[in-house]
C-alpha cells in the first residue's frame, strides 16, 4: 500500500478548481479563502490550505493586533543598546561592548488549561528555543501565572500541574527559575494564564538571523522527530484512508516536551554558531514547519525547495499537511552553506541529535514543497509570513466604564479600631494573592549555574553574567488585571511602572521591555478597546521611560463563553547592574538601621488587594501613575546601590506598606519598630496602593546622605522606624504588635493548605 496515492497536489488542485474545501472549519473567513485563491490563481491544495489557515490565524499573523502594535515601533525610544527588536524571535539588547542579552515573554495559556503539566512545560520549552534562535545561551526562566479562585476544585487540577510542568522542564534542561508572580482571580477560572519568560546571554558577534539567504544553501531540520503533535486543528483535512484506521487517539492536540532533547538543542546550536557553520536559524514553535519554512524563506532570498518525505517521522501514515502543521517540540530549522552541511550533520549526530537535510534555498521566489516527488505546495512565502490579513477591528468603549469609575473602593467600610486593623494585616497576609508562594517556587531549581544572585521572593530576579566583572541583569515580570480592568491605559502603565521599579529596587538600571498581552476576544469591540488602550499605555510609558519594547506576544480569545478575562498585560522589564555584589536585597538590614518610605501615600484603594479581599470589590479609578517620579526613583536607587548606602529595599505594590513590612520581617528574621507619621490615618497608610513607593532600609550613619540624595531629586522620604533584632515581629507604636509567630502563621503555608496538599 502506498501512503501517498491520495495526496492533493498542485496538479490535482489546478484540475479540480471546484472541489469543496473546509476553509471555514480551519478558521478562515470566506474573503480570506478567496484571497488565497487569487494569490495562487487556483484553489489551494490541502497542504497549502493548512499552511494559510495556520499562518493567517490570529496567533501567527497578529491580524487584529498589528495595527495597534505599530505604536511600539513608532514610539520606541532610540537606543544604541537595541541590537534586534520586534519581529525577531526575541529582542536583543547590548549590555556592554562585548555581551548582549536576549529575553522574551510568551503565553501558553490554552494548552496549559487542557493539559496543565505538558502545556506549561512546552511553554517553557518554546520560549527557550526563541532565545537559542537569537544565538544566545539561555541562562534563566521566569513565569507569570494566573489561576481561578484558589478554592475552586479546578484550580487544584490546573495549578499543581502547571507548576509541575514549569519545574519539570526548567529543572531538567538545567535553567534556574529566578522568580515571577502568581495571582488568583475568578475571571481566570476557565482560562488560566501561563506566561513564560526566558533570558539568554551571548557575545554580540554571535547574533543570529532567521534569513534563508544564499541560493543553494541547505535547509536542515534539527532535533526531535515529527509526530502528530498539536495538529488537532487541521484534522478536518484527514483523508478517508486515514480515518478508516480507526485510531481514536490519532489526533492529539497535546504536545509532550522532552527537556533532555532541548538541552542537546542548546548545546548543538551554540556549538554550530560558534563554529560559524550556520547562515540562518529559526525555532519551530506554534506553527511548526509551516511557520519556520515560510518565515525563513520570506526573510531571505525568497525561495525554498523542500522534500517533505525526508522529514524524520515518529508516527505512521502522516500526510503532507500533518507534517507541515505538526507542533512536535524540540526542533530547529538551520540554513547552512552546502560546503558546511556535512559538518553540521556530523556535529549534531555527535550530540545524539537527529539532523536531516530537507531542502535548499532557491531564488525562485516560491516556497515549493514536494512529497515523494509530487508538488503539494507552491506559494510565494511572503504571502504566508508577511502578507496575511490585517484587521481594523471595531473598537467601542465599554458601557459600564462610567459606572465602574464612580463605584470607588475609597467609600467602602474600613476597619477602624487598632484590633481590627491588626486583624486586617493578618487576613491580607493570608490571602491567596499576598501569601507566601514558596510552595510553588521551591519546586523550581533557582540556583543551577551558580549565577543566581536574587531569586523569588525578591522583587526582581538578578543573575550574574560575568564572573570577572560582576556585571549582571535584573528582570521582573508584573501585571495587574484588576487595575487594567478599571482603566486599561493606566493599568498597563501601572504594571510597567511596577516592573520597572522592581528592577530598580535591586539597584539595576532598567533598559528594555518585553510584554505579553492577554486579552479576551478581539471580535468583541469592548475587548478591542481595552487592547488599544493598554498598548497605547505601554507604548507611551516606554517612550517616557526611555526603554524600548523589544518584543513579546499577544494572546487573544482568553475567555469562557462570553465572559472575557480581565485585560492582563504582563510586562517584563530587564535591567543591567554593573556589579551584582552591590545589588540591594529584600530584608531589614541590621539592628538600628533606619526604615523609611520613599514616595507619597495617598488614599488610593480602588482596585486594591484590600478591596478585593475584604469586600470582593472591584471599582473606581486605579492609583495614579507618575513616570517622571519612577525615573527619578530608579536613578536614586541605582546611585544608592553603587555607593552601598542602602541595606535593603522593597517595592510597595499589592497590599501596600503592611504587606511590604510583613514580607521584609518574614524574610529577614528581624523585627521592625514603626511609628507612622503624625496625622497619618493608619489604615490608609498601611493599605493604600499608591504607586511609586519603595520601603528602604538605611544603614546607621547614612541617613543624612540618603535624605540629601532624595531631596536633591525631589523625592519625598519619610522615616518610619528602625530595624531591631530584639523586637519580635512588627511593633506599630501607639497601635498594635504582631509577633513573628502570628505573621508566619498567617502568611506561610497557605497555598498548599488551600489546595488540600
Amino acid at each position: 500500500m502506498s501512503q501517498y496515492v491520495a495526496v492533493d497536489t498542485v496538479g490535482v488542485a489546478t484540475a479540480t478548481p471546484d472541489e469543496k474545501q473546509p476553509w471555514a472549519e480551519l478558521g478562515l473567513k470566506e474573503d480570506e479563502y478567496q484571497r488565497i485563491r487569487e494569490i495562487l490563481g487556483r484553489r489551494p491544495t490541502q497542504s497549502e490550505l493548512a499552511m494559510y489557515s495556520i499562518m493567517w490565524s490570529e496567533h501567527c499573523s497578529y491580524k487584529s493586533s498589528k495595527v495597534h502594535l505599530r505604536q511600539f515601533g513608532e514610539k520606541n525610544p532610540r537606543t544604541p543598546r537595541l541590537l534586534a527588536g520586534i519581529g525577531e524571535n526575541a529582542g536583543v539588547v547590548a549590555i556592554d561592548e562585548n555581551i548582549a542579552v536576549t529575553f522574551k515573554v510568551e503565553s501558553h495559556n490554552h494548552p496549559s488549561y487542557v493539559e496543565p503539566k505538558q502545556g506549561a512545560a512546552t511553554g517553557v520549552g518554546g520560549i527557550i528555543r526563541d532565545i537559542i534562535a537569537m544565538g544566545a545561551r539561555p541562562i534563566a526562566v521566569m513565569d507569570s501565572l494566573r489561576f481561578g479562585a484558589i478554592d475552586h476544585p479546578d484550580t487544584a487540577r490546573v495549578l499543581p500541574g502547571v507548576v509541575d510542568g514549569i519545574g519539570h522542564y526548567g529543572n531538567c534542561v538545567g535553567l534556574p527559575n529566578i522568580g515571577g508572580e502568581t495571582y488568583f482571580d475568578p475571571c481566570y477560572q476557565g482560562n488560566p494564564l501561563v506566561n513564560a519568560l526566558s533570558v539568554g546571554v551571548m557575545p554580540r558577534s554571535r547574533l543570529q538571523s532567521m534569513q534563508a539567504s544564499g541560493t543553494g544553501n541547505i535547509v536542515i531540520l534539527l532535533g526531535a522527530k515529527t509526530g502528530r503533535d498539536g495538529i488537532g486543528g487541521v484534522s478536518v483535512l484527514a483523508s478517508a484512508t486515514f480515518s478508516e484506521t480507526g485510531e481514536d487517539d490519532a489526533r492529539p492536540s497535546v504536545q509532550v516536551g522532552d527537556p533532555f532533547t532541548e538541552k542537546l538543542l542548546i548545546e548543538v546550536c551554540l556549538e554550530l554558531f560558534d563554529a560559524q557553520l550556520v547562515v540562518g536559524v529559526q525555532d519551530l514553535g506554534g506553527a511548526g514547519l509551516t511557520c519556520a519554512l515560510s518565515e525563513t524563506a520570506a526573510a531571505g532570498d525568497g525561495g525554498m525547495h523542500v522534500d517533505l518525505e525526508l522529514v524524520p517521522l515518529r508516527a505512521k501514515g502522516m500526510e503532507p499537511h500533518d507534517i507541515l502543521a505538526s507542533e512536535s517540540q524540540e526542533r530547529m530549522l538551520l540554513i547552512v552553506d552546502p560546503a558546511k552541511a556535512e559538518e553540521v550533520l556530523a556535529r549534531a549526530h555527535r550530540w545524539g541529535l537527529l539532523a536531516t537535510a530537507i531542502g535548499t534555498v532557491t531564488d525562485s521566489g516560491r516556497l515549493v514543497v514536494d512529497f515523494h516527488g509530487q508538488t503539494v505546495v507552491d506559494v510565494p512565502p511572503k504571502s504566508l509570513a508577511d502578507e496575511g490579513p490585517v484587521y481594523h477591528r471595531p473598537i467601542a468603549e465599554p458601557n459600564d466604564l462610567g459606572l465602574i469609575a464612580v463605584d470607588r473602593a475609597e467609600t467602602l467600610p474600613r476597619p477602624s479600631t487598632d484590633e481590627e486593623i491588626r486583624q486586617t494585616v493578618l487576613d491580607m497576609a493570608a490571602s491567596p494573592n499576598l501569601c507566601d508562594k514558596s510552595w510553588i517556587t521551591e519546586q523550581y531549581d533557582s540556583s543551577v549555574f551558580g549565577n543566581t544572585v536574587l531569586g523569588a521572593p525578591h522583587d526582581a530576579g538578578v543573575v550574574r553574567l560575568d564572573e570577572r566583572t560582576g556585571v549582571g541583569i535584573a528582570i521582573s515580570l508584573d501585571g495587574n488585571g484588576r487595575f487594567a480592568r478599571l482603566d486599561p491605559y493606566h493599568g498597563a502603565q501601572l504594571a510597567l511602572a511596577e516592573a520597572y521599579r522592581n528592577v530598580a529596587v535591586t539597584g539595576a538600571t532598567p533598559i528594555a521591555v518585553s510584554d505579553c498581552l492577554n486579552f479576551g476576544s478581539p471580535e468583541d469591540p469592548h475587548v478591542m478597546w481595552q487592547f488599544e488602550r493598554a498598548v497605547t499605555g505601554i507604548a507611551d510609558g516606554c517612550q517616557k521611560l526611555g526603554i524600548p519594547v523589544t518584543g513579546g506576544n499577544v494572546s487573544f480569545y482568553n475567555q469562557t463563553g462570553r465572559e472575557a478575562i480581565h485585560p492582563t498585560p504582563v510586562i517584563g522589564v530587564l535591567g543591567v547592574i554593573d556589579d551584582v555584589a552591590r545589588r540591594i536585597p529584600l530584608g531589614l538590614g541590621r539592628t538600628g538601621d533606619t526604615i523609611a518610605l520613599i514616595g507619597t501615600t495617598s488614599e488610593e484603594l480602588s482596585g486594591s488587594e484590600w478591596a478585593s479581599v475584604a469586600h470582593g470589590h472591584l471599582g473606581g479609578v486605579p492609583p495614579k501613575v507618575d513616570l517622571d517620579h519612577e525615573m527619578k526613583l530608579a536613578d536614586l536607587l541605582s546611585r544608592l546601590a553603587e555607593t552601598e548606602q542602602l541595606a535593603a529595599a522593597h517595592d510597595l505594590s499589592e497590599g501596600g506598606l503592611a504587606q511590604a513590612l510583613v514580607e521584609a520581617i518574614s524574610h529577614s528574621g528581624m523585627g521592625a519598630q514603626i511609628l507612622l507619621p503624625e496625622g497619618a490615618d493608619p489604615f490608609t497608610y498601611l493599605f493604600s496602593e499608591s504607586s511609586g513607593r519603595v520601603l528602604v532600609v538605611i544603614p546607621r550613619g547614612q541617613e543624612l546622605a540618603v535624605r540629601t540624595a532624595c531631596e536633591s531629586r525631589g523625592l519625598p522620604i519619610t522615616p518610619l522606624g528602625v530595624a531591631d533584632a530584639n523586637t519580635n515581629g512588627l511593633h506599630l507604636r501607639d497601635h498594635f504588635d504582631i509577633t513573628r509567630e502570628d505573621i508566619d502563621a498567617a502568611w506561610k503555608g497557605r497555598i498548599g493548605a488551600r489546595l488540600g496538599e
Binding site: V114, D249, A250, P252, V254, G257, F260, A315, G352
Partner: protein, 81 residues
C-alpha cells in the same frame, strides 16, 4: 478476592520521552533491531473479599487517579481470586 490490573499507557501518538531514551540506549547494548519502545505503568489493585462493582470502581480509580485521560489511555483486567 478480586485482583485488578490496570495498565496505563500514553496514547499512541503522544511523544514518550522515556521510551525514546530507552530506544536510544539499545544500540549500546548491541540491540539494533528494535523499532519502537513505549513505556507505561502497571497498577495492581486487590479489592476486599466482599467488594461489589469491582469493574466499575476500578474504572473510577483508573480514570480519575491513575491515568490522565487527556494524554493516556488505560486497560483494566480483572483476575478472579
Amino acid at each position: 478476592m478480586a485482583r485488578v490490573v490496570v495498565d496505563v499507557m500514553l496514547k499512541s501518538e503522544i511523544l514518550d520521552p522515556q521510551g525514546e531514551a530507552v530506544l536510544g540506549a539499545l544500540p549500546r547494548l548491541g540491540v539494533t533491531e528494535v523499532a519502537s519502545v513505549r513505556i507505561g505503568k502497571r497498577v495492581e489493585i486487590e479489592f476486599d473479599e466482599n467488594a461489589q462493582n469491582v469493574e466499575e470502581q476500578s474504572r473510577v480509580i483508573a480514570d480519575q487517579l491513575l491515568a490522565n485521560p487527556v494524554i493516556e489511555s488505560f486497560a483494566i483486567s480483572i483476575e478472579a481470586a
